[in-house]
């Protein structure tokens, strides 16, 4: 099962490297949204709550783009039927897609987070970097798991582009709450994590619940 997942993942990564369809678009999108926030909020620099909020809302919106495109390659080349005919465990498909989405998000954040530090953040990013990376990692796991699930749910409906944001964003509210609250003290003038433990615990619980749930339920999707 892990081997099958790795094969699908490698195919998806290779495809993304060749076509460069998702990650550059998501990255460009986050930069554009930063500019929008600058004009919308009429602020040159943010810190604390506002900074955490802008950073995470932007990442969530970018995730919507990634999720919409997650099964696009299979759909466009009729590949989904090919995948389903092969004796591939649905669980492997879920693991591969969630891992792909996770890696896409990490790739986007490698550019988007420093860009945020450059464009909008008042205090520097460096102070609490390990904590910030932990929050990003745990948040990305949750987004990846739920994103893969929503992508599969919406994969075969006619109104796909509408359903993905409407489903994904409410489901990610707990992730947004935990990540924004955890990040906020790291982005203040007097940096330092506060109550990081409880937000990380919430994130971990969310991640565990949704990874297990998606693994259990994926078999019933994309069947024919």
């Amino acid at each position: 099962m892990i081997a099958a997942a790795r094969t699908i993942l490698r195919k998806d990564l290779r495809l993304e490297l060749r076509t460069k369809e998702s990650v550059p678009a998501m990255t460009l999108f986050t930069l554009t949204v930063y500019v929008l926030f600058h004009f919308g909020l009429d602020r040159d620099s943010l810190d604390g709550e506002l900074a955490a909020g802008v950073l995470w809302v932007t990442l969530l919106l970018a995730a919507v783009i990634g999720v919409s495109r997650l099964f696009a390659a299979e759909r466009e080349q009729g590949g989904i039927d090919g995948l389903l005919l092969a004796p591939v465990d649905r669980t492997s498909l879920f693991l591969a897609k969630a891992a792909a989405l996770f890696l896409f998000l990490v790739a986007v954040e490698v550019v988007a987070v420093p860009a945020f530090g450059l464009l909008l953040l008042g205090p520097g990013l460096g102070g609490a970097l390990p904590e910030l990376l932990t929050i990003l990692a745990l948040g990305d796991v949750g987004i990846a798991a739920v994103g893969a699930l929503v992508a599969a749910l919406a994969a075969e409906t006619r109104a796909r582009e509408l359903i993905v944001p409407l489903l994904l964003l409410p489901l990610l509210v707990p992730v947004l709450i935990a990540c924004a609250q955890a990040t906020e003290p790291l982005l203040r003038q007097d940096q330092g994590p506060e109550d990081l433990g409880r937000w990380l615990a919430l994130l971990t619980l969310y991640d565990v619940v949704f990874v297990l749930l998606s693994v259990a339920v994926f078999d019933y999707l994309l069947e024919d």
Partner: protein, 232 residues
């Protein structure tokens, strides 16, 4: 199938509702801080609890649907979610009225229950477009069940997250539903809760009876049409 025991259930519901109303307006004492406005809680909170339990029950029924492949479980899940959404809208409306009466604004972010319900109702509203955009009946049922399970697991997580967030920015305002309700208020609340629970099950059965009958009628029509086609 669903009509068994319906009449006594409906009767019990009516009795419970009437008793609850009587208790609320003639028995329960006036709240020291909020005055008469506090009476809204006897309808607002039971609706909230019933709605939340309904969403989780819908998820559990969806699990049974997926495991058994029996489409009647999908119908039960759909109706439970449907009624819970209606109750959820009622929670938001009564909550807004209470907020206006207590705070002067039609909406407050201080109340974790209200805020959580906003997110939950927004999520479950997508159930309908998701469901009805899938044409194949069997696939429609399967995907709806997956949604119901994910959303059902989401509800408690969301409540926990919102409550944790509100505790930070605003201290808990709603202390009424905590343990420290005086005796008469607690009795009134429990009767109201029981009435709301009975009401939920009654409406659930009622809608299932209606849907079942409609399905059987369709089947009968089809069979009659086939018989006529053969005879011709």
């Amino acid at each position: 199938m669903y009509s068994k025991g319906f009449k006594p259930l409906a009767a019990a519901t009516v009795v419970a509702l009437a008793t609850a109303m009587a208790l609320v307006f003639f028995y329960a004492p006036l709240d020291a801080d909020q005055g008469f406005v506090q009476k809204i809680f006897y309808v607002h909170v039971p609706m909230a609890i019933a709605s939340l339990c309904g969403f989780v029950a819908g998820g559990i029924m969806a699990i049974r649907h997926l495991r058994s492949g029996d489409s009647s479980w999908d119908m039960r899940s759909y109706v439970a979610i449907h009624i819970s959404i209606i109750l959820g809208v009622g929670v938001l409306a009564t909550g807004a009225i209470w907020a206006k009466a207590s705070w002067g604004h039609w909406w407050v972010w201080d109340e974790p229950v209200l805020v959580s319900f906003l997110v939950v109702v927004l999520l479950y509203c997508v159930y309908y477009p998701l469901r009805f955009s899938i044409e194949d009946r069997e696939r429609q049922a399967r995907y709806s069940s997956v949604f119901a399970i994910a959303a059902g697991a989401f509800v408690p997580l969301n409540f926990a997250a919102v409550r944790m967030a509100e505790a930070y920015t605003h201290p808990r305002v709603l202390s009424q539903t905590g343990g420290n309700l005086p005796g008469e208020m607690r009795l009134t609340f429990l009767v109201s809760l029981l009435a709301m629970a009975l009401l939920f099950v009654t409406l659930w059965k009622l809608e299932l009876i209606s849907k079942n009958a409609s399905m059987q009628l369709k089947r009968l029509k089809r069979r009659l049409a086939e018989r006529e086609a053969v005879a011709a």
